[in-house]
C-alpha cells in the first residue's frame, strides 16, 4: 500500500469531525472519496497532507508512519495536494505559482515545468498573468499543475470540479486520468460523485465523519443506495441535497446519535 489511513479521529475543538476513517490507496490507482457537504472529505485530505492534526489513529505512507510529521515535510516524501478552493497565490504569476510547487526541492525543474505546460496548454498561454485574475477553471488547472510540480507520488485533489462549468469538469477529469496514466497515484475527493466514480478505480463513501461504504467504483455506480443518495437515482434530485436525511432510505447505514 502506498498510502494507508488507519482509523483516524480528528477534532475541531471538542467537536469530532472524523471518527475512525480508514482508507487505503495503492500505487497507480485513482481512488475517490465521495460524500455530501460536511461529511469530512476535506478534513480527511487535510489530515493526510498534515494541515490538520489527528487526535487518534495513524497515517502510513510508503510503509512509514507520518502521523506526526509536519505538513511541509510530507511534501518532500511525495504527498502533493491541490487544496480546497484551489489555494492559488493571487499575487504571483502562473509561472511563479508553479515554481512555488518546487520550493522545497533542489535540482533542475525545467522538465517538470515543461510537462505541466504540456498538460495544461492554457497555463502556458497565460504564464505571466497574475494567478488571482484567472478564471475558475484556469485556477483549478494551476492548482493541479502546482501540485504536480511538487513531484508527488500521490496527488490529493480536493473537489477539482467545484464551481466549474460542465464542459470544464469533463476536461479536468480527463486530465486527471492522463496524470494517473503517467504514473501518479490519485486520491480524489468529490461531491460530483457521477464524474468521480467514472474515472476512479475504487471508491469510498464518507458520511458524518465515517466511511460507510467502500467498493470498486463501477460497483458503486450501480449501487442503489449510492444512486439514491449521490447520483440522483437517474432523476434530477440534487446531489447530496441534505446531509442526514438523504440516508433515511438506507436503513442499514450506520448513524450516530
Amino acid at each position: 500500500m502506498l498510502l494507508e489511513v488507519k482509523d483516524i479521529h480528528v477534532h475541531y475543538g471538542k467537536i469530532a469531525a472524523l471518527h475512525g476513517v480508514s482508507l487505503e490507496v495503492d500505487e497507480g490507482e485513482i481512488v475517490t472519496l465521495i460524500g455530501a457537504n460536511g461529511a469530512g472529505k476535506t478534513t480527511t485530505l487535510k489530515t493526510i497532507s498534515g494541515l490538520r492534526p489527528l487526535s487518534r489513529g495513524k497515517i502510513m505512507f510508503d510503509g512509514a508512519d507520518i502521523s506526526r510529521v509536519a505538513g511541509h515535510k510530507r511534501v518532500l516524501s511525495g504527498i502533493g495536494q491541490a487544496p480546497e478552493g484551489r489555494g492559488i497565490f493571487p499575487g504571483m504569476t502562473v509561472t511563479e505559482n508553479l515554481m512555488m510547487g518546487c520550493y522545497a526541492r533542489k535540482g533542475d525543474v525545467s522538465r517538470d515545468l515543461a510537462q505541466v505546460f504540456e498538460l495544461f496548454p492554457r497555463l502556458a498561454e497565460r504564464k505571466d498573468q497574475a494567478g488571482g485574475t484567472m478564471s475558475g477553471g484556469e485556477q483549478q488547472m494551476l492548482a493541479i499543475g502546482r501540485a504536480l510540480m511538487t513531484n508527488p507520488r500521490v496527488l490529493l485533489l480536493d473537489e477539482p470540479s467545484m464551481g466549474l462549468a460542465p464542459k470544464l469538469i469533463q476536461q479536468i477529469f480527463s486530465i486527471i486520468q492522463e496524470i494517473n496514466r503517467r504514473g501518479t497515484t490519485v486520491l480524489l475527493v468529490e461531491q460530483n460523485a457521477q464524474q468521480a466514480l467514472q474515472v476512479a478505480h475504487r471508491a469510498y463513501v464518507i458520511e458524518t465523519g465515517e466511511i460507510v461504504k467502500s467498493a470498486e467504483a463501477s460497483a458503486l455506480l450501480d449501487d442503489p443506495e449510492v444512486r439514491a443518495a449521490y447520483l440522483g437515482g437517474g432523476a434530477d434530485r440534487p446531489v447530496g441535497g441534505s446531509e442526514p436525511e438523504q440516508a433515511a432510505g438506507a436503513p442499514e447505514e450506520p448513524r450516530d446519535g
Binding site: 475541531y12 475543538g13 467537536i15 469530532a16 469531525a17 471518527h19 457537504n37 460536511g38 461529511a39 469530512g40 476535506t42 478534513t43 487535510k46 497532507s49 498534515g50 494541515l51 509536519a70 505538513g71 511541509h72 515535510k73 511534501v75 518532500l76 502533493g80 495536494q81 487544496p83 489555494g87 492559488i88 497565490f89 493571487p90 499575487g91 504571483m92 512555488m100 510547487g101 520550493y103 522545497a104 526541492r105 498573468q129 497574475a130 494567478g131 488571482g132 485574475t133 484567472m134 478564471s135 484556469e138 502546482r146 501540485a147 511538487t150 458520511e207 458524518t208 465523519g209 446531509e243
Partner: protein
C-alpha cells in the same frame, strides 16, 4: 477570460508614459460610475487625479525594472546624496518653518520611516497583522538606557545587544502566538505592546513611570565637518559635524538614522528577493497552500517576527541615544497604530511606499501645527481621504494590488482559523 485592469495597464505601459492618461481616465470613470448621481460627478475629477498618479506610478515601475543595473545604482546614490543634503536651510524653511528641521528629520520622520520598514517585513511581506510593534521599539530603547546608564556600555555594543534582545523578544512573542491567524494574532500582539509598556511602568529597576534619564550619547566618531564648499555651502550645511554626537548636534543623529535606514533597506530588499521573501509571499497569500508547497510556514513567520522586531529594536536604541531620557509613555499603543497606518497608507509590501507613508504621517502633523488644536482632526481627514481614493496605498506593490483585487492574502483577509464548529465539524453533531 477575465483580465484585470492591472494587467491590461501593464501591457499598455510598455507603450510609454503618454498611455497612462487614457488608462487613468477609463479607470476613474469606472470607479465614479459605481456611485450615485451627484456624487459621481464630484468624485470624477478627484479620481482622475489619483488614478493618473497610479497609472504613472505603474508605468514608471514598468520602465524602472527594465533599466540596467548601473543606472539604478546611480539613482540610489543620488537618493543617498539627497538624503545627506536634506537637512538644508532652504528645504527647512518650507518643510518645517516652526520646528528644527534636522531634529524633526531624526525623529519622528527618520524614526517612523525605519519603524515602518521594519513593520513592513511583518505586515507587508509575511502578512501578519502586528498591533504591538511599539513593544520592540521600547525594548530597544530600554536596552540602550539600561546598558548605557547602569553598565556604561558604549552605543555600538548596545546596538548589537539591542538587536539581539528585541529579536529574541520577537521570538518569545511569536512562538506561542503565531499559531493564531488574522485578527486573533492582532489582538495578542496588541496585548503584548501594552504588557511591555505597563511592565516598564511598574518596574522599579528601570525607573517605573519616571523612566531612565542620563542616557549617554554615542561616542563621536570624528570631529570632521562639512567643508565650506560645493555642495554644502549651497544648502547651508557647511561647518556641520556629521559624525560628532553631542546634545545639540541634531544633524549627526539624523545621519546616524539615515545610515541605519540605508543599511536596513539593503538588508530588507535582499531578503525580499531571496527564498525567504518568496516563502513570506506564499504565507501571506495563502498559508495552507504555502505549507502544501513545502514551505515551513511557522518557521518563516517566526523569522519575520524576529527580523521585524530587531529593526524596531534598532530604532529604539538609536532613538534613546539621542533622547537622553525615556519614559514608558514614549511607547504608547497609538504609536503602533500610527506606524501601521503609515505602512497601509504608503502601500504595504513596497519599501518606497511605506517610506512615503511614514514620512507623511510623521511630517503632516508637524507641518500643520499652525492649525493649533485642529491639526489632529485635519490629519485624520487627510488619512481618510487617502484611503478612500487610494485604498491599495500611495505606492502599492503590484503583487499586493493583485492580492487585494482578489480579496485574499495578507492582513486584508483576516483569515482566522477558529477552533470550533465549521462545515466539516458539523458532521460530528
Amino acid at each position: 477570460m477575465s483580465n484585470s485592469t492591472g494587467v491590461s495597464a501593464r501591457g499598455k505601459g510598455r507603450a510609454g508614459f503618454g498611455s497612462a492618461f487614457p488608462v487613468a481616465y477609463e479607470r476613474a470613470r469606472r470607479r465614479a460610475g459605481a456611485r450615485r448621481a451627484p456624487l459621481n460627478l464630484l468624485l470624477l475629477p478627484l479620481l482622475y487625479v489619483t488614478e493618473t498618479f497610479g497609472a504613472i506610478n505603474e508605468t514608471f515601475h514598468e520602465w524602472w525594472i527594465r533599466q540596467p543595473g548601473w543606472s539604478r545604482w546611480t539613482v540610489y546614490i543620488l537618493l543617498i546624496v539627497g538624503g545627506v543634503l536634506l537637512p538644508s536651510e532652504q528645504v527647512a524653511s518650507f518643510m518645517s518653518p516652526e520646528t528644527d528641521w534636522a531634529t524633526l528629520l531624526f525623529f519622528p520622520i527618520g524614526g517612523y520611516v525605519l519603524l515602518a520598514i521594519g513593520l513592513n517585513v511583518v505586515v507587508g511581506q509575511a502578512g501578519l497583522l502586528d498591533l504591538g510593534y511599539v513593544a520592540f521599539f521600547a525594548i530597544g530603547g530600554y536596552t540602550m538606557a539600561v546598558f548605557g546608564t547602569k553598565y556604561g556600555w558604549s552605543f555600538w555594543e548596545i546596538l548589537l545587544v539591542g538587536l539581539v534582545l528585541s529579536a529574541l523578544s520577537g521570538v518569545v512573542l511569536g512562538a506561542p502566538t503565531l499559531r493564531l491567524r488574522g485578527d486573533y494574532l492582532a489582538i495578542v500582539t496588541l496585548g503584548f505592546g501594552e504588557i511591555v509598556r505597563i511592565t516598564a511602568n511598574n518596574t522599579e529597576y528601570i525607573g517605573g513611570p519616571n523612566g531612565i534619564g542620563g542616557i549617554p550619547h554615542p561616542p563621536s566618531l570624528s570631529e570632521w565637518a562639512f567643508p565650506d564648499a560645493f555642495p554644502f555651502n549651497l544648502v547651508g550645511l557647511e561647518g556641520v559635524q556629521p559624525l560628532s554626537y553631542g546634545t545639540l548636534s541634531a544633524h549627526s543623529y539624523y545621519y546616524l538614522m539615515l545610515a541605519t535606514i540605508v543599511a536596513v533597506i539593503i538588508f530588507a530588499k535582499r531578503l525580499e528577493r531571496s527564498r525567504v521573501g518568496r516563502a513570506w509571499a506564499a504565507v501571506r497569500e495563502d498559508e495552507d497552500a504555502a505549507e502544501l508547497m513545502g514551505v515551513p510556514t511557522f518557521k518563516f513567520k517566526l523569522a519575520a517576527f524576529a527580523i521585524g522586531a530587531a529593526i524596531g529594536g534598532a530604532v529604539g536604541v538609536v532613538y534613546a541615544s539621542q533622547a537622553i531620557s525615556i519614559i514608558p509613555n514614549n511607547f504608547p499603543f497609538i504609536l503602533s497604530a500610527t506606524i501601521l497606518a503609515a505602512v497601509v497608507m504608503g502601500g504595504s509590501g513596497n519599501i518606497p511606499g511605506v517610506m512615503v507613508g511614514a514620512f507623511l504621517v510623521a511630517w503632516i502633523p508637524e507641518r500643520i501645527r499652525f492649525f493649533g488644536e485642529y491639526r489632529v482632526l485635519i490629519f485624520g481627514a487627510v488619512l481618510v481621504a487617502l484611503m478612500v481614493f487610494r485604498p491599495e496605498g500611495i505606492l502599492p506593490s503590484r503583487q499586493r494590488k493583485a492580492e487585494l483585487e482578489e480579496g485574499t492574502g495578507g492582513m486584508g483577509s483576516m483569515g482566522a482559523e477558529v477552533a470550533g464548529p465549521t462545515a466539516d465539524a458539523e458532521a460530528g453533531r
